[in-house]
Amino acid sequence: MADAAALGPARGTIDLVLRGRTRDVRGRLFQGALLMTLLVSLGVLLVLLWTTWNAAQPVFAERGLGFVSSDTSSLSSRAGVHQGLVGSLILVAFVAAVALPLGIAAAIYLQEYARDTRANRLLVTNIRNLAGVPSIVYGILGLVVFVQALRGLTGPDSYGRSFISGGLTLAVLVMPIVILISMESLRAVPAGIREAAYGVGATRWEVIRSHVLPYAAPGMFTGMILALARAFGETAPLLLVGAVTGYLNTPGGRNPLEVLQGQYTSLPTLIFSWAREPGEDWKAMTAAAIVVLLVAILAVNAIAIVLRNRYERKW
């Protein structure tokens, strides 16, 4: 009985110690601050989307999908984003065909084959810097190299201002992103997997092909998605390498090479030129084009994410 009596006050003390202390105040403040920043950035985004949608809404209400399927025109009541949308899709496909294989191959070389020499480290550092170079600089590069110097190849009849010039410029622009993210995913492959594969007598190629690349693939896909979304939205370099911002003939009855070497436009440049037009009607048109651009980028990303998930599920 004396024991039970002794337990009483002791239990009270423990209770005080365990429950009486003030909570982790700084931790909670930090968590709250983090949540606030998230809400602020989300809020800005929502306001932006909402105002854009509001401005664009009359255009969609009046013309529906006709806005998407009409060609450019100097009349706001007849103009549409058809050529811009098709142009952007062709551009992005071109960028994907050029930048993804080259970028991934470069990443595999740098991460898996290149020795860790001073020259190679310098190379990687430079690629990292290239990823941060303003896009207008790539535009100047494209203007000098693809539009002027290589005019004979990129577009003899369009003064070099062609899909090829624009696509190559964007490809050069996004390649550092592809390389860096791919290298990052390759580096993240656990050493244990490589060792295990070498340990059963795999050659370097077999290790990379059968284990490293499948493991790194989802991360590399993410890099590709980011790069292509960037290419989709770029405007400044395309203005320099001569995307048409005004009237453009509808491409039709031409072979793919002629199309690629011909004049082009893209959604962002179209938005840019409409935004400079005076009048409320063009304001609404601009907002509507922005909505189409956002939807197109989301669609491209969604497709890429579905592809990535399908690949992930395989193992």
Binding site: G199, G201, A202, W315
Partner: protein, 300 residues
């Protein structure tokens, strides 16, 4: 090419050894003849002479000379940083994967210098399998984990049968036979390590290197791996790095004790071999006082 058949009776008779052909360049040991061996010492699989390993300016291991005998379990013990793992990785040229590793001295495997420029490290790793400290199954199915090695080696026999045989040999078959298509990562730690052993066996090596294979496992899983080693030793030669002296005493025939020597001048720590002997001699009657200090727990 394995010199030892499945289910071989453990008799006085032993495979004399994989004799290397005259053609040095072939470097692929061929199956030797069996002969009745009455001699006390089994043949050597590895003869290592004056082996030193450096990583850049750092010398990890100095002047190691020892022999590894066939169908014996050799334990490598010693304090952390004494170069046991470095030494083990020299035996199947895994150190080649480390860019600035430099190896001096000789590692003779059945008489062939493994660091001869004409030796193909890929072929070396097929014959000298490895099990790592942390179980590292491929993130693929159990079946593919075991089948990968034989596949890339161009195995053209019955792959399913080989996978089953390897899994049986690793004492894992009964636990996984109904889920061969499931991921190897879904297994428990102990099962994963046995899967790694099955994977190592599947390329039909004659030596298995084990780098602290039980350090991430619980006592029961450890027991299973140790039992398995006793079974495997009929067909293979095993070299095991262990931090656990009881484990070395329980499983091994011979033990090599490594230690660290600190250079007074520049503070560099270099691994050296102190003593190699029968395991019971190392633990009961070591000839070097450093060994005695270590095995009795006074140091390390």
């Amino acid at each position: 090419m394995s010199g030892s058949g499945e289910g071989m009776e453990l008799t006085q008779e032993r495979v004399d050894g994989l004799v290397v052909g005259d053609d040095h360049h072939a470097s692929r040991p061929v199956v030797g003849h069996r002969e009745r061996v009455e001699r006390a010492e089994p043949a050597a699989v590895f003869d290592i002479a004056d082996l030193s390993v450096s990583y850049g300016d750092f010398r990890a291991l100095r002047d190691v000379s020892l022999s590894i005998r066939e169908h014996e379990i050799t334990a490598l013990i010693g304090p952390s940083g004494c170069g046991k793992t470095t030494f083990l990785r020299c035996l199947n040229r895994m150190n080649d994967l480390i860019e600035d590793a430099r190896i001096e001295g000789q590692v003779r495997y059945h008489g062939v210098d493994l660091y001869d420029p004409r030796v193909d490290p890929v072929e070396v790793r097929r014959r000298i399998g490895m099990v790592f400290q942390k179980p590292n199954p491929f993130p693929k199915s159990i079946y593919d984990n075991v089948a990968f090695g034989p596949r890339i080696a161009g195995f053209d026999g019955d792959l399913e049968e080989l996978v089953e045989r390897s899994l049986r040999r690793a004492a894992l078959w009964d636990e996984v036979k109904d889920k061969l298509k499931e991921s190897g990562l879904a297994l428990s730690g102990g099962q994963q390590q046995r899967l790694c052993i099955a994977r190592a066996i599947a390329t039909r090596p004659d030596v298995i290197l084990m780098d602290e294979p039980c350090s991430a496992l619980d006592p029961i899983a450890t027991q299973r791996i140790e039992d398995l080693m006793q079974e495997l030793i009929e067909d293979y030669t095993i070299i095991i790095v262990t931090h656990n002296m009881q484990q070395a005493a329980r499983v091994s025939d011979r033990t090599a004790f490594f230690t660290v020597e600190v250079d007074e001048a520049n503070g560099q720590r270099t691994g050296v071999v102190v003593e190699v002997a029968q395991t019971h001699a190392i633990f009961t009657n070591p000839s070097d006082e450093r060994t005695e200090a270590y095995v009795t727990g006074r140091f390390g």
